[in-house]
């Protein structure tokens, strides 16, 4: 692999790499605003300027400048090398690039930083980007000088509503055009553009348009400053109180990698951010996927219930588990159906499938109905783990339609399952009401919930660690982002306890035991890539 020199390090690069991308591959950041690894090169912020030494035997390209001499108290003629934008300059073999080690580069960065802050309102206390703002980061690392301009800064429109989700503040904007390029290149929709020049520039919507479409939140995500904010997150929390844990989006079968930002003090998830993964979602997520964090709160089942319809009453989790075992033990052999879920983790499905195998029950799979697919990220299957459930369940996993048919035929007298999602309407599901013993492990309410004779609350995908297998067969692990309500068990634990109540040998008592059993199962067909370990530079 060819190599070039950046400061005092020899770095490899791939043909066609720019300096900034080659450095980014090695985890070295050259300060930048407008460059983003997933977008085209604009080279308009001038923050990434570096000094490139001339090829051997060639003179350096020098510029004549006036330099302030402190000793003479006057401007004196001087020379300075012509700096190049690292985001646009291709690397070549043996190139010598000076970034941190060049005083000219340091001065250029300081000047660019000062220039960008000339008309900035510096309203960090009320800005939601504060804490993850590139202007703040680079002021600390490159600038560190007070404002010298004494005039009133230019005032521009604030709180411009681009859509229901996106609000724009022109005073904070640095015209990096990342949002415009995201619209053009990711969503393929030229809804935004830049107008005016100099200090009067402003990002504007196309006339008569709104910033809608399935990837509008990505404009906020790529904004390096606080110019674009999302109405879901703005004014809710400060980023320095949030802790990000690696997650996998539960919106669809693509399995986009996420950072789940939660406030540990309130035990509340505040937002999802895309986690860079070149194999799956690159740097992006869709709006609906970004909003799946709301599922931690909305429609949650957090208490145990026994009985159905009017006979339903609240119970302790322990009692509900015992009741489930009692009811299921009365079901004759071969008449029990086990319903896996394409929404639940591989771990939950694995233990349920083992329970089914031990009692020779037939396996079925509940899933959500399809959603709008596109050619960017969204898969038509709105279930994150259909492949995983089928993988741990084996080939003979029937659909919910099959379950309804078996119930109608009288082959099923008891059901134990996880998840309440269904892709059938309630009239089609109605025969399930005839089953006398239905134990469901639920994290969320859904169409199946009303058939349960025993409801056991379990952790949602944000409250327990687990694995999802995406549509390409890639198994992706994720960590716990928030704590479950007290007494609420992970799905696999509840299933194992019911299994032990039935006298089965389901000895799983710790998550790592289930994980070990799962790893053995994942090895041959699924590419067992545990992507939680690969934590790329987030947000670039």
């Amino acid at each position: 692999m060819p190599r070039f020199k950046l400061d005092d390090r020899e770095l490899p690069f791939e043909k066609g790499d720019t300096i900034i991308r080659a450095a980014h591959r090695q985890g070295i950041e050259i300060p930048h605003y407008c460059w983003h690894p997933g977008l085209s090169v604009a080279a308009n912020c001038r923050m990434c300027l570096v000094e490139i030494e001339p090829p051997p035997g060639r003179p350096a390209m020098m510029l004549d400048i006036m330099h302030w001499d402190e000793g003479k108290r006057d401007w004196v003629p001087a020379k300075k090398p012509k700096l190049q934008p690292a985001c646009q300059q291709e690397v070549s073999e043996g190139m010598v690039v000076r970034s941190q080690s060049s005083t000219h580069v340091a001065e250029a960065r300081r000047s660019v930083q000062e220039f960008l802050l000339v008309n900035h309102p510096v309203d960090c206390p009320i800005c939601d980007q504060a804490g993850e703002c590139k202007l703040q980061d680079y002021w600390m690392s490159e600038g560190r000088q007070p404002k010298r301009m004494l005039d009133e800064p230019v005032h521009k429109p604030k709180g411009v509503v681009f859509s229901e989700t996106i609000v724009y503040d022109a005073e904070r904007c640095i015209a990096c055009t990342r949002c415009i390029r995201v619209c053009d290149e990711l969503a393929g929709d030229h809804a935004l553009d830049l107008r005016e020049r100099g200090n009067r520039f402003e990002v504007v919507l196309a006339p008569g348009r709104k910033l809608d479409g399935p990837y509008s939140l990505m404009t906020e995500h790529v904004c390096p400053v606080g110019a674009l904010t999302s109405s879901h997150f703005r004014f809710k929390a400060r980023v320095w109180t949030l802790r990000g844990s690696p997650g996998v989006c539960s919106g669809c079968a693509t399995g986009c990698n996420t950072w789940v930002d939660a406030d540990p003090r309130e035990n509340r998830v505040y937002r999802l951010r895309p986690r860079d993964n070149e194999q799956v979602n690159k740097y992006w997520m869709c709006d609906d996927g970004m909003m799946t964090y709301e599922r931690q709160r909305l429609g949650r089942v957090s208490r145990a219930y026994v009985g159905r319809d009017s006979a339903r009453s609240e119970a302790a989790v322990e009692d509900a588990l015992k009741r489930a075992a009692t009811e299921l033990s009365k079901v004759p052999k071969g008449k029990l159906a086990v319903v896996l879920s394409a929404q639940a983790t591989c771990e939950d499905n694995l233990v349920l499938a083992e329970l089914a195998r031990a009692v020779e029950a037939r396996l079925y799979l509940s899933a959500r109905g399809p959603w709008q697919a596109d050619r960017v990220l969204r898969n038509a299957d709105a279930n994150p783990n259909r492949a995983g459930a089928v993988l741990v369940g084996g080939d003979k996993v029937g659909s919910l339609q099959d379950l309804v048919a078996s119930v109608a035929a009288g082959d099923v007298q008891g059901i134990v399952g996880i998840g309440a999602d269904a892709d059938l309407d309630s009239a089609t599901l109605a025969p399930l009401g005839r089953v006398g013993a239905v134990a469901l492990f639920l994290s969320h309410d859904g169409p199946l919930a009303r058939f349960a004779t025993v409801t056991v609350p379990v952790c949602s995908a944000l409250e327990a660690e687990g694995h999802f297998v995406n549509v390409k067969g890639l198994a992706q692990g994720f960590k716990r982002a928030a704590l479950p309500r007290e007494g609420v068990l992970p799905g696999w634990d509840a299933a194992a306890r019911v299994g032990r109540g039935l006298g089965l040998e389901l000895s799983y008592r710790a998550a790592r035991e289930v994980r070990a059993a799962l790893q053995a199962r994942l090895q041959p067909p699924a590419k067992a890539a545990d992507t939680t370990a690969a934590e790329g530079a987030s947000g670039a």
Binding site: I126, L150, V161, R234, F235, K236
Partner: protein
């Protein structure tokens, strides 16, 4: 290496020490000195008023709580939230104070201004602002952190003893009902809303 020892002389006890009488008289003398300390002022009726001059010498006791010693100007008392011209809190719910608070006694729930308000869209306000005065250690970091001069500890009040814990949880209304020790609800630093003609920004003559 040998350890060096230094022999200390035992202090001798004299007959005076042994009898305790001399020390007894000395001690009583000190007590009596303080007893008669204010007599001269009492006779001349020229007490310094400790409520007016907190550092006045010559007075050891006060008839508290009828007479209170005034606290210094910068003494950190119970918090208050300062008002804007229209009576709303100056606080913009930036959470800097609750971040800086080492006792974690400040809880703020930020909210957006309702539709139609001119501040909607870029500024927020505290829907709830709660300080647990029992947890507070009165370090003043919240006042230091505040970028808007919205929280102050210049009330000159110390936390009075109350008969139940719930009364020590000060909410937004309670905090806004406490004036400064000069009876002011606003702050000495005037607030200029963005867009007001009086908004100074910065200018060449005055600098920052």
């Amino acid at each position: 290496m040998t350890a060096r020892t230094k022999v200390m002389k035992k202090p001798l006890r004299t007959l005076g020490d042994q009898s305790y009488l001399v020390e007894l008289v000395k001690g009583l003398g000190l007590t009596l000195k303080h007893f008669f300390k204010g007599t001269q002022q009492m006779v001349a009726n020229s007490y310094a008023n400790p409520a007016e001059d907190p550092f006045a010498e010559g007075i050891a006791t006060l008839e508290y709580p009828e007479v209170k010693r005034a606290y210094p100007e910068r003494w950190r008392g119970v918090h208050r939230l300062t008002h804007r011209e229209d009576g709303s809190p100056r606080c913009v719910a930036c959470l800097c104070c609750s971040t800086a608070c080492p006792a974690q006694c400040i809880y703020i729930k930020p909210a957006e201004y309702p539709a139609g308000d001119k501040r909607r869209g870029y500024e927020r306000f505290p829907e709830e602002f709660v300080i647990d005065e029992l947890r507070c250690i009165f370090c003043g970091y919240c006042v230091e952190a505040c970028p808007c001069d919205a929280i102050r500890m210049d009330t000159g009040m110390h936390m009075t003893a109350l008969d139940n814990r719930a009364s020590f949880i000060f909410d937004k209304e309670k905090l806004m009902s406490i004036p400064s020790q000069h009876g002011e609800f606003k702050s000495e630093n005037p607030r200029h809303e963005p867009g007001d003609p009086s908004h100074p920004g910065i200018d060449r003559l005055r600098g920052h």
